[in-house]
Symmetry: C2
Subunit: 333 residues, 2 copies
């Protein structure tokens, strides 16, 4: 079983992943996986090569773990955390550890190996956003879990090990440091101003316009003021809400349209570069926060994290967000 | 001039680097630089291809910016921050920014293109560690600066853009977030226990032995309990001191021996993989801290930072540090 260990100074947790255990020689080959047209466990027809599905979209009455799906969610075959077991919280001298309890799932976005997320229809994209919502709602029922992180690694440089288009979720028994810091920052602003900082950002950006990429009735896509990566783009609902899992179908359909539009702009401008995106939503048991506002952050993987970034927590971004937003805004898609 | 911008939620600063400004097409080619045996501005004889040196080791009476050096420190030709100019602190609506004031220097570790840091003699390695000390002491005299981060990116995947062996320093007008968090964590421990947490860690690790890689009279190399990267190794002075720049020559010579030994072990075990290292030392004006302990952290670049790490601040490490330490300890170098 994996182990969760806490850095005693930074209060940062590390997962020592025994399922993925590596010895020195395993690191020697760090080449991108080749697109050999070979076997893919995520393609339709290969359902028996993944663990049993926990959620799927099947509009044709087909049976679970058989062909006939348009979206499929399965436990990760090499999970970094697992549902079974005791929490095992304990001290090791001055250090703290616990067992790797949690969940790690893969959301396969299409049965077709050739699809990318930006090529999906609005209805398929909406199904994906609904799948995120349903999985969060389901995992919430496990009282040991405190947070579900939903993210996508697209392309080898962004951390994807399989080419077939998929997102992932990792459910955690701890509210992660990055999420706590974001909540704390938002709370500080609310205590000063009695306003949600994301609502304030949306107001200022719509007013100034220079960092807005696009918007529709319910959502806005913008380049943040202090982005850590070039062409970083956030998509936020215009109306205040802290919990993604409460979003109704029609809102998620509206999000699918703007999300797809944004990914197409990024593909057009950057030539289909690798990217990560992350859903920021409130932790379990905090479903009515005035100070937090759910949203997605999309980060193209165009620069390297090196000694300066590791040591300082600063980031060097060679593209001003005003310029990135203008280029994305004007992209012909 | 570059610009420093603060994320209003996470209080994380980003450098919008105009000296390195990039448009979309500049990101298309992300291949490693080829070792063509071509021109290198850091090689002896090419001193006129870098800005004028600010520090060098020349034991033969040779003139500055001419051949005859064994170590040379020059301003970075494409600095992310520069010394000239006003601070220009200002608000932009709800956001905060200032001018990119600071310093960015390159420490060229050898005149010979073929050398790597682990191949340097003890005397050359000691010269390098003394150069770090002298540059910190010099930059401290600029009262606008609050911290100097010294680091090395070795290999393309770790962020090096030139092959010739070099370290870098970036002096900052703000104590960086990562350093503040480390200081805060150490202070919290001291307030509880009246002891330096690094001194506690050294005691526990020497007692348990399973994460110790090697030691000499003055220094210890160990795998930390919760490493973010496989084979991460820290080198700490056994005696408590918070400020690197107060270390005398003989202590730095002892450090050079253990540092070189550690890099040789990593090279042997991992096959000369890319790595970063970072000097952790106290900020300017904090030279007598009971709760902080200077040290180096070496992080081999073997895994990718992907969506999960960006979103959570957790790290997934596939190699338990006990195993990494045993392998490094037993390496025949």
């Amino acid at each position: 079983m994996s182990e969760l260990r806490k850095d005693p100074i930074l209060e940062r947790w590390v997962i020592i992943s025994t399922e993925r255990q590596k010895r020195p020689q395993d690191f020697f080959l760090q080449e991108p996986p080749k697109n050999t047209g070979g076997f893919c466990p995520f393609c339709e027809g290969n359902e028996d090569k993944t663990p049993n599905e926990v959620y799927s979209v099947r509009r044709n009455g087909s049976a679970p773990d058989k062909p006939g799906w348009s979206l499929r969610t399965v436990p990760n075959r090499f999970p970094v955390l697992t549902v079974e077991g005791e929490m095992g919280r304990e001290g090791v001298g001055i250090f703290d550890r616990m067992n790797g309890i949690g969940a790690h799932e893969v959301i396969i976005e299409s049965p077709d190996h050739k699809d990318t997320l930006s090529s999906l229809s609005t209805s398929q994209f909406t199904d994906l956003l609904c799948a995120y919502r349903e999985r969060i709602a389901d995992l919430k029922r496990d009282s040991r879990l405190k947070y579900v992180l939903i993210f996508k690694n697209h392309g080898f440089a962004a951390g994807a090990s399989l080419e077939h288009s998929h997102s992932q979720l990792i459910a955690l028994p701890i509210i992660p440091k990055q999420v706590s810091e974001e909540l704390d920052g938002c709370k500080k602003h609310f205590e000063l101003k009695e306003r949600c900082i994301y609502c304030d950002i949306i107001r200022q950006e719509r007013d100034q316009k220079e960092r807005v990429v696009s918007e529709n009735d319910h959502f806005i896509a913008l380049a943040p003021f202090a982005p850590i990566s070039p062409f970083e783009t956030w998509i936020l609902p215009k109306a205040h809400h802290c919990s993604y899992e409460h979003a109704p179908d029609d809102l998620l359909e509206s999000l699918a349209r703007l999300f797809s539009d944004t990914l197409k702009r990024l593909d057009k401008v950057l030539g289909c570069q690798p990217y990560n995106f992350i859903l920021h939503s409130s932790p379990f048991g905090m479903e009515d926060l005035d100070h937090f506002h759910w949203h997605f952050e999309i980060m193209p993987k165009l620069t390297k994290t090196a000694g300066f970034e590791w040591g300082s927590g600063f980031y060097i971004n060679p593209t001003p967000p005003e310029e990135a937003a203008a280029i994305l805004r004007e992209a012909k898609i």
